[in-house]
């Protein structure tokens, strides 16, 4: 299978685990989407470094976009890329994050590490956020 196909399968598998297997149903919670919105920004930033500096490179036959040029950075946006990275990386990252959080929440539900709970923010942070 290509990276494109696998990345779609990965997202579908993660969603199935969330909805049907662990029944955490995170994709129906605003907490998950607020968190993911923050995470995806930093994914674009850090993955942009990994792909822009060509620490990692991709086979044009495995992704939607073409082979990247050999001696320069890939397209910043376009040619199947966002912030230098193949769009497939967004799906890869989504399934990585969703699977992690499904397991985290499921473990909490069965009573492992449920406490001490998160928050509240420290006083100086609460003042900053006012």
């Amino acid at each position: 299978m290509t990276y494109t196909q696998l990345s779609v399968v990965g997202v579908l598998m993660a969603i199935c685990l969330d909805i049907f297997f662990f029944r955490t149903r995170l994709i129906r919670r605003s907490l998950f989407w607020k968190s993911y919105a923050i995470i995806v920004v930093f994914q674009l930033l850090t993955n942009g470094v990994l792909t822009g500096y060509r620490i990692v490179r991709y086979d044009g036959n495995a992704i939607i976009g073409p082979d990247a040029p050999i001696n320069s950075a890939p397209a910043f946006v376009g040619a199947g890329r966002i912030a230098f990275a193949p769009v497939e990386d967004l799906l890869f990252g989504f399934s990585l994050v969703l699977l992690t959080l499904v397991l985290w929440v499921w473990l909490g539900r069965i009573g492992i590490g449920r406490t001490p709970v998160s928050g509240p923010p420290r006083a100086f942070m609460r003042r900053l956020m006012k």
Binding site: F32, Y53, I55, R57, D59, L96, V97, T100, G119
Partner: protein, 118 residues
Amino acid sequence: MDHLAYLGVLLFCLCGTAWLEVALRTRVYRRWHRLVLSIAPVVVVFTLWDKYAIGRGHWWFDSELITTVRIWSTIPLDEVLFFIVIPICAVLTFEAVRSVTGDEAGDELSTPSSASPR
């Protein structure tokens, strides 16, 4: 030093989220056993994916910009660490948002649908 480029990105991710544990009292590292159990299956699944993708040539790495250590003969150590670091960042972000918003995740004791505590 070039060999530390990938690790540098991972260090940035760790440092960029670690302060949440203190400032927002996420208590993720404090619940390290829950964290380890959450991440272990993720590392296994995504390392297998990585092994397949590297084997099929879906992606490859600039050997000058990663460590020289290989796991399972083809997977850079940097990649395995990625599958540990990014999940930690994800959980810290998740618990940070919960700390600030008070939104429920479904693992609270008061949630009717949650499993009964032992």
